[in-house]
């Protein structure tokens, strides 16, 4: 498999859209969305899949990412839309892409989409906190904090800093206490969405969790959904 292979494939009359699903876990959680875009375009070139290029001064493979992921958050459900302008089976697209990535970023699906990325309305995260869980009421405290309005936090955006009730973004929250503390939240996606890191900040500021280097946490994006709650595809 080579970057040059696509030139041997049969051209399509019109480019067709192609949706790719992949994960971004492990060490890859530390790279930004901007870096991911650059990395993705190189993966596509190396793989030799017949991605359609934008015309103009600076031709590049057309890519549309579903939802940006913030640094420090992992995901098993990232979506990206590209276009294909030559004939290739979807299984070969997957094989070619997966030959060019590490375990931290495997592609799990490639298909012609029937929906728009903008239809994503909800996104779920699992936040796992390694902390002292000997206090049996910890889960209740966390649940209480995340369900009692308002929970005012400072939110930074392009237009500056403003105070918001972060619970405005919540659809649901569950808290489980075992060896670790596990939060499962469903948040509104799209414009002005909430960085799940803010929830961690709230736990730190209001409950004193994660104050020491002995405590750590992970955040995993576990699913994206349509407005009616069905899993996005």
């Amino acid at each position: 498999m080579s970057a040059f292979d696509k030139q041997k494939m049969k051209p399509l009359k019109d480019p067709i859209p192609m949706r790719l699903k992949f994960r971004k876990v492990g060490d890859l959680q530390y790279i930004s969305h901007l870096d991911l875009q650059r990395v993705m375009s190189r993966i596509i070139v190396r793989s030799g899949i017949p991605a359609w290029y934008t015309q103009g001064f600076n031709p590049h493979a057309k890519m549309t990412f579903a939802l940006p992921l913030s640094v420090g958050t992992q995901s098993i459900c990232e979506f990206i839309d590209i276009k294909i302008d030559r004939e290739i089976p979807t299984s070969e697209i997957l094989d070619r892409l997966n030959a060019q990535v590490t375990e931290d970023m495997k592609f799990s699906a490639a298909y012609v989409p029937t929906t728009k990325l903008a239809q994503i309305a909800w996104v779920s995260y699992e936040i796992n906190i390694c902390t002292d869980t000997s206090d049996g009421t910890l889960a209740d405290k966390v649940k209480g904090l995340l369900t009692t309005r308002p929970l005012i936090m400072k939110k930074r955006s392009k237009s500056g800093e403003r105070e918001v009730d972060i619970l405005d973004y919540f659809k649901s929250v569950t808290v489980e206490q075992g060896e670790t503390l596990t939060l499962r939240v469903m948040l509104r996606a799209g414009e002005g969405s909430l960085n799940p890191e803010m929830i961690v900040t709230a736990l730190r500021d209001r409950l004193g969790l994660l104050a020491t280097a002995e405590e750590s946490y992970t955040i995993m994006r576990t699913g994206v959904y349509f407005e009616d709650g069905r899993e996005f595809e």
Binding site: S32, V45, R46, N58, P59, C130, E215
Partner: protein, 619 residues
Amino acid sequence: MSDKRSVLLKSVSKPGRYSGGEYGQIIKNKKAVNARFAFCFPDTYEIGMSNLGVRILYGALNEQDDIWCERVYAPWDDMEAKMRAENMPLTAHESGDPVGEFDIVAFTLQYELCYTNVLNMLELANIPLLAADRGEDAPIIIGGGPCAYNAEPLADFFDCFSIGEGEENLVEFTRLYIKMKLDHTYTRAGFLHEAAKIGGIYVPSLYEVTYNGDGTVKSYEPKFDDIPRRVTKRIMKDMDKAYFPKKPVMPYIETVHDRIMLEVYRGCIRGCRFCQAGMVYRPVREKTPEVLCDQAKCLFEATGYDEISLSSLSISDYSRLPELCNLLLEWTPESMVSLSLPSLRVDNFSRELMEKVESVRSSSLTFAPEAGTQRLRDVINKNVTEEDLMRTVTTAFEGGKTSVKLYFMQGLPTETEEDLDGIAALAESVIHQFYQTPNRPKRAPQVTISVACFVPKPFTPFQWEAQDDLETLLAKQEYLYQKITDRKIKYNHHDAQVSRVEAALARGDRRMSAALLEAHRLGMRFDAWSEFFSYENWLRAFEGAGLDMAFYANRRFGDDEILPWEIIDCGVTREFFAREREKAYAAKTTKNCREQCSACGANKLGGERSWCPNAKNPL
């Protein structure tokens, strides 16, 4: 079960610098290898990952099944503070294992101002700073890269240095280490003694240095009869056959040179008299266009980069450049790959070809006249004329460019006020030329002049020269600032204090290790970054070591003086440098290697496809 690493990475800026896991990184079974090699770049990840030499050596060492070479970079100050607070040692990028546990720890020395980072990294790795303090179990510390040509200021901290091109000698060095470990003959002293017999390996502790009453060097004496009196640099004789990294590590975060860097040839035919690279990388050795084209294709497949940059000291001097460009252009447009040529001279290049290779994204042109008058350009043997510049900028303006960057130096030997006036005048004539170009773009032109301070470097015809003292450098900068009145001309200059420290370190001797140790104790690091550089601290460090910065930076070294770096033989002879220096004083130029051999001496090293008449296979 807390994850300390993730806590750390989530708390620092740009965690992608440290996370590793890149596509193309080499992972081996540490129990199955015979030597673990830590290749340290004493600056940030973004800079280190852009270095072609490191990529080559990383690949060359890892080609050996029983050697595992890993990368190490300097942590930024926020990361360093956390590491110190948590008592976490410096670790290697691939395995995350502490650098102090490696067999061999190498540092590439790219510029003098990274020396304090070397010491800081050794300390973070819990490795004793002084070679003399290291026990039998401590890693062997080896240095290399351009600054190893005068490594004397670092002599106390390193066990040895690799001089010249390391593709072969680092492997030989590591093989010797493995052999002595496996047959149980290894002792630290025994190994270093044997290593000193490998071509290009310099073991400073095996030489006794004495000094004259005035502080100059009196002698370098080998402590044993079986080690060389001078260490001759190593070169790769045939660049077509030299090791070439086929599968580079792909950085996840943006690095300084994030593109394919295709090394076209080594050395330089020009012989600019201030330029150390142009002297120490001699003789010129070219690769053939066919080999280069294959290598470029291979790199494109392995990286997916959309830009190829032809990399060499002066790319337009490559004797087969049009052929190479044509070969590359046969496949690059279809693959959406653009071709860029840094620092292009238009002399021997057709307009048509230039339009094809020019990166459409770049709107500026860079040109380095280095000096403001023809007389001074002749003194430094920079064989460009004002006409060359005007022809080049006219072509650029016609091609739609409006921005021109000009590089100059201040404080060059024999410089007068007239030469400084010349810098301003040259910038003005570029603006003038813009308005004389009939089909010029509609936007206003912008000329940026960037003026560095002259730093006398070892192994150049100007190695004996004094740098202007700080007051003079500052006065010249102010003078030029007053001279430039046109608002279309932007004037930048280097920090004269930084240049002075650079000059002192560049021409330092072994006693300077004490000043570096003092600088380290004062908490200095990242001196190449203006936010960290402190001239006051450097003055204090020199004073603390009982040294005078002026002795090294601002003194004219004696004609017959033994120079600290002459323990190294870079191929080019002292006699050649002295001849060139005389010609400089007479403002006489020297022809380039292709026009005529000037008997610099480097041909004794051999080399295929060089321009040397007596080399094995001249062009």
